[in-house]
Every structure is written in structure tokens, then in C-alpha cells.
Symmetry: C2
């Protein structure tokens, strides 16, 4: 008996996220025409399994289109080309698009599904922890423009998600860790049991209990998204730790991975909270860094990072606000004066700077 | 005192369509940054008026972007370029996009507004009868792909529509007539008073009563759309007369305008209904053709038109269905056997073929 968790995302219409080992072998979709859009790195490894599973359904016409790997698919050229491929395959309104890959693949595939004939059914088979606990939940899809990341897209909820935890065993350790940072963040903003579970052991793709852990992290996001489908209120809490994380990624020209940047960013947010007399979780975020062992940071300059953080203002005419914790699992959105930002930065840097 | 009609479209959220002469002088929008996307043919004539009206609102930052004329803006290149322009202008989530032009302009502008940052506020200032009674109502936006028309897009409802009937006085008569054909169709499927109003006199942009007529035609579409926001059921009735109309446009390589094709298409649908023993409205659709005086048709071949009609199947795996009338204002969707299609065609062609 395999372990299977199902989380229902309470949107209109609602949909289910299934988590378990080996579940991609058992996918059934009731559409006459189905196109699987797959990250090219999965062409030989997982795509044939998915196509074989789908082809067990009689009379369905199953196609696949291979997309450039990872983030390199998230642009207008691939978007445009993929839409044309769907048209050439004769997809109609009652056809379906399936994403097979990480968060970038499902971002592109979801935006294509949202746009083709003004919206066709969309399903997600996430292949990374990050895609399982974050990108697959909530319907944010999109592509990058030359002017910036994720500037064009749509809210398009999937009809169903199958998160097969066996697929995680083929991931590089650094990609696995990236998703754990988001899962830890989910714990900090919403679920103290999840924090304890993550800090309680060193997690790998083979850890017993991983299926339940992934399901628990998905639950957090599913709950937040159901309360705020279009990112107007509490969904902003999911950006906990991300203000500095994005700045670190930009300042290091993305030589620091998103997951590592989030690990550092969570620790900075913790220091901000401590300086403001809110709950002090710096020991906890420090423990997570010790466990994750993110790539060491290069020498960073507060003025430069601050510049990047304030450019985030563009996302909101009201200005830059940080997500902070009043207590564990009690996030709030607030402005922080420059002096406090700088003081927290000094303490943070003292903690995270590479020791020679 | 000017005549002003307001129709509320009962969607979630609902929005208002204002109809009246000169109303574009009085537009007020409460956004800090606003970009007007305008058909280039309106650059000198109406765009300055709109910008001046918007600039009366203090502290708002008003920009404009000129789009290629009419249908030539509805492609991925213009879509992509316009998204980048919004990013370069620093539009944020609480900014707004305003469409100024005909249906093609609002189709492109609406899809841009739906996509930029996954959706910003969208307003429409329609400048043709067709855009007022059809494209501005219901939130269908989109662009063409090399593979076909309107294959990519989004449902994105405007926050408000201002239909200024004074703008219609600068339209060529043929463009004015195009919208009257859609208004007449609205009458046939939903509102017998509207049929009588349209057939009761020869309408021009200067006719007294035009404001009320436009408002009445908008009401029909607003009602249908509110019952079926995503085009799953009765919204299909809006395609009355359009199956043959699209085939005529395709067979004549669009040398027959959409409005003229719809006038002919309504008459064919009437003949189909008569052959099936349903209500006989052939005299009524014939009277409309006599009033509209559409461009004469070239020699047409039923086999060719039938081929184009059946290609519409792509839109629905269940096959081609016609909208027909059980009674005036009582539309139904049904299959029609080939022999009946051919017999109706013979009678229709006898009625509409050019007399030498």
C-alpha cells in the first residue's frame, strides 16, 4: 500500500493535489486530446512514463511538446511557438494541457493553457520540491519580459496536480534543497509543526516521511491561496524572506540559487523582527542555514542590496513593505525604517559572512 | 441636458457601460498611472480629447501608446511590444489600461491588460457601433495566431465602458453599417422591440434615437453575457448568422466586410429555419438586406462554403451546430443535415445573388 495524500484547494472550482510515490504511473485524464508540455531534461527519463500512462486511456489522442530547460522556456518566443503548436495539433476547447517539469515549465505551460482559445484545462505534474510546494499551488502562471521577471501571465488554476515524490530522487541535491527553503518558509508563516519537522532531521529525497512533509507544506499554501486567489491580501505573506532574497539574487547576478537566497533572506527577516522587538526567531533561521549549507555569499554591500529591495516598490505604488512575524505563524506586512534595515543587515552579515 | 444611458453588466464584479453623446470629455478614472492604447487612426482626432479629459484629474500620470490600425494590431508582435512599453512606463498593479478604438483595438488592449502583471484594470472607449454593441461587452479579448483568428486571449472584464455616440459621426458609412448588422442580430435572438426599431427607419450616425438604440443593443449582449461569462452555453446564440458569415468572409478573402457578411448570414440562417419548419423570418432578414445594401456577392459555390462552415468544427469536438430560431427571440442550437443546408442555400442564393 503506497502512501497517498490528497489536498483539496478550495477555489471555484476546487481541485485536488495528489502527493505520493509512483503516482504518475496512474494518471487518468478524461479529455479526447491531451498535450504534455515537458522540460527537455525529462524527455528520456519521465516523459515516456507519463505518455504511457495517458495512452492507457482508450480513444484519447496524446501528444507531447518538449520545452527548453528550466527558466529558458519563460519568454514570449517559446510562448508564441507553443501556442502555434497547440493550434497545429488541432486542440479544441475541451482539450487539455499537462505540464511536466519544475516551476518554470508549469509557469509557461499554465500561461499557454490560460491563453489558448482563452483557456483550456490545465494539469500539473511537478518534478521538483519547489514546484510541488509552491508553483503548483495557486494558479500563478507567466513568462518574463526583457524588462523583468514574471511581468506577463495569468491566474489560471490547474484542474488537478499529481506530485510524484519518486521523481525527486533523480534531482541534484541543490535543487532538492531549494524546495526545502520554501517549505521552511511555509512553516514560519503558518505552521509550527512543519518548522519542527523540517529542523528535526536532515532531509533528502529518500527520507521516510518526505511524502507527508511535502503534503503538509502544500497544505499551507493551499490554505493561503484559497483565502486570496488573486494576491490582494494575505498571499503577500508568502514573500516572507523574499525581499532580501531577490536582492541577493540580483546583486550576485543569480550565481546564488533562489533556494539559497531564500535561506539567507529568511534569516534577514528574522533579524529585522528582532530589531523591532517582535518575536526573535534568529536562532531558528540560523539553524536552518546550518542544516541547508547554502553556497557561501560573496562580499555584499548594504547600499546596493537596499537599492534592489527598493526597486521592488514598482510592484506596489504604496512603497516597500516587509513581511515580518508578530509570533511564529503570525505574519504581518509592515514598513521598516532605513536605520533598522541597516542595523539588522549588520547583524545578519556578521552571522552569514563567509569565514576564511 | 444630454441623453445618458447606463447599463450594468451583472458579473462579479459588475461594471457599467455608459452610452451618450460627448461623454469622453467627462471621463474620470481613479488610478495614479494610466496608459491609453489607441488605434493610430485616432491619434489626431479623438486621442487628444481623451488625454485632456484624463489629465484634469490631478496627480495622475497619463501616457498614450499608438497601435497599428484595426485588425493589424492583433498579433503577438504588437502584444509583446505593448507589454514591454507598459513595463518601461513603470505601470504597477494598481495602474490602468484604456482602449480607444474599434473591436480589434480593445481585443488587443484587453489581452495586454489581462496579461500585464497577471491583470491590471481595463477600461474601454469604443469608437464604432460594432465595438459598442459587441466587443465592449463580455470580456472576450485576444489576438490572432498564424494558424487562425482569435486563437489566443483571455476573458478579462473591463471595469467600465464609455460609448460616446458622437464619435460615430466620423465613421465611414460602411463601418457604421457593420455594427447595425450585429445590433439587428441581437434583436433577432433576444429583443423583438429592437428588431422593429432597426427596421423602422434608415439609421445613420446622426439619427435621433441612436443613443437609445445603441443602449438597447448593448442590453441584449449584457444580459446574455451575465448568464454565461465563459461562453459555455447561451453565449453561443450570439453566433446567429455567423456560421455562413465566416464562410463568406473566408471564401471572398475578406473582400466582403464582416458586417455585410453577417447581413447575408442572418438571411441564410432564416432560410435554414424556414426549411426546417421553424419560424419564417426570411422576409424580415430580406428587408434588413434591402435597408443595409451590403456589397454585392461574387459568384459563390456551396461546396466551398460548406467546407469553410465545417472547418468551424475545430471549435467543438462535437461537430458543427447552427443557431436557429424556434420563434423570434427564442434561439436554439442544433445540427442541420447536409440536404437541408443545400436546399436553404439554393433559396438564399436566389434571393441575394447580384442582379445584372
Amino acid at each position: 500500500m503506497t502512501e497517498l495524500h490528497t489536498i483539496t484547494v478550495q477555489l471555484h472550482p476546487s481541485y485536488d493535489i495528489h502527493v505520493g510515490p509512483g503516482i504518475i504511473h496512474h494518471i487518468r485524464l478524461h479529455h479526447r486530446r491531451i498535450v504534455v508540455l515537458a522540460d527537455e531534461r525529462l524527455r528520456d527519463q519521465h516523459l515516456p512514463t507519463v505518455l504511457a500512462a495517458l495512452r492507457q486511456q482508450q480513444s484519447a489522442e496524446i501528444h507531447s511538446v518538449v520545452l527548453p530547460a528550466g527558466e529558458s522556456c519563460k519568454n514570449l518566443a517559446v510562448f508564441s511557438r507553443t501556442l502555434s503548436q497547440l493550434a497545429q495539433l488541432g486542440l479544441s476547447r475541451d482539450s487539455a494541457v499537462v505540464a511536466l517539469g519544475g516551476g518554470a515549465t508549469s509557469d509557461l505551460a499554465g500561461y499557454v493553457a490560460a491563453s489558448y482559445l482563452r483557456g483550456v484545462a490545465f494539469y500539473v505534474l511537478p518534478t521538483t520540491v519547489l514546484a510541488m510546494v509552491d508553483a503548483s499551488v495557486g494558479g500563478k502562471t507567466g513568462i518574463n519580459l526583457p524588462e523583468g521577471k514574471n511581468l506577463a501571465g495569468a491566474f489560471h488554476q490547474p484542474r488537478g496536480v499529481w506530485a510524484d515524490t519518486e521523481l525527486l530522487t533523480t534531482l541534484p541535491a541543490s535543487v532538492f534543497a531549494e524546495g526545502m527553503a520554501e517549505a521552511f518558509k511555509h512553516g514560519l508563516i503558518e505552521d509550527t509543526a512543519l518548522i519542527n519537522a523540517i529542523l528535526g532531521q536532515h532531509w533528502t529525497a529518500h527520507s521516510p516521511g518526505l511524502v507527508a512533509l511535502v503534503a503538509q507544506a502544500i497544505c499551507v499554501k493551499a490554505k493561503i491561496v484559497a483565502n486570496d486567489p488573486h494576491e490582494r491580501h494575505e498571499r503577500a505573506f508568502l514573500n516572507y524572506g523574499h525581499t532580501l532574497a531577490h536582492a541577493v539574487e540580483a546583486a550576485t547576478h543569480h550565481t546564488i540559487s533562489h533556494g539559497d537566497a531564500v535561506s539567507y533572506g529568511l534569516h534577514y527577516a528574522a533579524w529585522l523582527g528582532k530589531h523591532l522587538g517582535m518575536v526573535d526567531i534568529t536562532a531558528m533561521t540560523r539553524a536552518f542555514i546550518d542544516q541547508q549549507r547554502p553556497q557561501p555569499l560573496p562580499e555584499l554591500d548594504f547600499a546596493e542590496l537596499s537599492g534592489f529591495m527598493n526597486r521592488d516598490k514598482k510592484a506596489d505604488e504604496a512603497g516597500l513593505r516587509f513581511v515580518l512575524l508578530e509570533a511564529l505563524a503570525k505574519p504581518v506586512l509592515m514598513r521598516v525604517d532605513d536605520a533598522t534595515q541597516a542595523a539588522a543587515y549588520a547583524d545578519w552579515w556578521h552571522d552569514v559572512k563567509p569565514t576564511v
